[in-house]
């Protein structure tokens, strides 16, 4: 019975369906705010749903010479990882005390899986532009993972626990100087994880014409788009939970409003950055993450260890 209940949770709430609907709504917020910044009207709120439904009825093209099974299963790998990440995160937020020791580490692994799926799909498609996009995505992962893990270490050191629900219930990390630095680093890493400008070199629509996704069409592309949207929803929630003192939906309307405010604040910050920054070349992005960003993250960890 317990297992059936868990499967329902993974598929409906707070797993796949919830994250997909929340993610598509968040991607509408992204498109609408971008449109308003460009003095446009922007798409209606159902637009991301129309896009996904339309892709679902299109033909699936498998390029000649590609690795067919990997080309078609890579999107599903990303989708299931994103759904599991959402499941673990929201269970920690809504049902404290039911997590397990080290679920934060599992979460960190699950959050890298969608990027890995993009790399696998790109390499399987036998397209030179997709291969270039996939290799850039891989370099970007190497670049941002180290500072991201260091940044997440700061609240872990301050609480100190590796359990997500205890971390969420602990004191907010941003109340200390080390937490502010860690949040800044994590925001930049989130931008790179979502491959948004200035770290969108893997997609680079002007020179790679969609990059890693170039050969995808129809339902597999819809799955990739949904996975991206789910990450756009899950990552800000993760940052709000770990760095900004959690999201207390159970603490009455005030708590829910504060949680929504934190989430929308982080999303809009990311959208503003994406609309005002130019694209970094991949070697510049690598130097940026391994140089100043890692240094700031290391400084934050040292400050946290010193009790600040």
């Amino acid at each position: 019975m317990e297992a059936v209940w868990l499967i329902v949770q993974a598929l409906v709430f707070p797993g796949l369906l919830f994250a997909a609907v929340g993610g598509l709504l968040t991607s509408w917020v992204d498109r609408k705010v971008t449109a308003r910044l460009q003095m446009r009207v922007g798409p209606p709120w159902l637009q991301p749903f129309y896009d996904v439904i339309k892709l679902m009825i299109k033909e699936t093209c498998v390029p000649a010479g590609s690795v067919k099974w990997l080309f078609l299963t890579a999107p599903l790998l990303g989708l299931s990882a994103a759904a599991l990440a959402s499941l673990i995160l929201w269970r920690a937020l809504l049902l404290p005390g039911q997590g397990f020791s080290g679920d934060l580490v599992v979460m960190l692994y699950l959050l890298t899986m969608p990027s890995l799926a993009v790399v696998l799909g790109a390499f399987a498609s036998r397209n030179p532009l997709a291969a270039l996009g996939g290799s850039r995505e891989m370099k970007l992962m190497l670049a941002y993972e180290l500072p991201f893990v260091l940044a997440v270490l700061v609240p872990v050191v301050r609480t100190p626990t590796f359990r997500l629900d205890e971390l969420v219930a602990g004191p907010p990390a941003v109340a200390a100087p080390s937490g502010v630095l860690a949040l800044l680093v994590a925001l930049l890493c989130m931008q790179a994880k979502l491959t948004l400008v200035p770290f969108d070199a893997p997609e680079a629509e002007t020179e790679l014409a969609g990059g890693a996704y170039i050969e995808y069409s129809g339902p597999p592309l819809a799955v990739f788009k949904t996975t991206r949207a789910m990450m756009l929803f899950t990552l800000p929630v993760f940052l709000a939970a770990v760095f900004c003192g959690g999201m207390r939906f159970t603490a009455g309307p005030g708590g829910a409003a504060a949680a929504l405010g934190k989430f929308l604040g982080l999303v809009v910050l990311s959208i503003l950055l994406r609309n005002t920054a130019p694209r970094l070349r991949i070697d510049h992005a690598l130097k940026f993450f391994w140089g100043p960003v890692t240094a700031v993250a290391a400084l934050a960890v040292v400050l946290a260890l010193a009790g600040w």
Binding site: R31, A35, Q38, M39, R40, V41, G42, P43, P44, Q47, Y50, D51, I53, K54, I57, K58, E59, T60, C61, E205, T206, L208, A209, G210, Y213, I214, E215, Y216, S217, G218, L221
Partner: protein
């Protein structure tokens, strides 16, 4: 009108192929996509890959080399796909009809769903054509 057609007409992703055009039609197409006309209101966006496209825009005369590429692009597009010929050249060959390298009307190779003459057509004309195209897709 089916559910599928409804979703398709609300989310038309456009791939633009300039087949040896003089670029005037291409500039007008880009004008139509600027914030002034804001086609994203209707779910229309420009995509970089034919695999993502629902609409194939053709502009310019298709000469003997470009026509083959256009046919290959049409074959690579996931169906259902709508083909629109933009500008006098793509519709009829226009002033290049007697040119030695013109391959003949493009609809000999690709089924064209809408013709939009003009040299170049204005953005308003493109939006009017779009409305007619959506009405045609819905079977009205």
């Amino acid at each position: 009108m089916s559910f599928a057609v409804n979703a398709l007409t609300r989310s038309l992703w456009v791939f633009h192929l300039a087949g040896s055009a003089c670029n005037n039609c291409d500039i007008e197409i880009l004008d139509t996509l600027t914030p002034r006309y804001d086609l994203e209101r209707f779910g229309i966006i420009l995509v970089g890959s034919i695999r993502h496209a629902d609409v194939l825009l053709l502009s310019g005369i298709f000469n003997k080399k470009a026509a083959l590429r256009a046919k290959r692009l049409y074959d690579a597009a996931p169906k259902p796909v709508v083909v629109v010929a933009i500008g006098g050249c793509a519709c009829s060959g226009h002033m290049f009809q007697n040119s030695y390298n013109w391959d003949g009307p493009i609809n000999r190779l690709i089924p064209v769903d809408a013709y939009l003459p003009g040299c170049p057509p204005k953005p308003e004309a493109m939006i009017a054509a779009l409305v007619k195209l959506v009405a045609k897709l819905k079977g009205k």
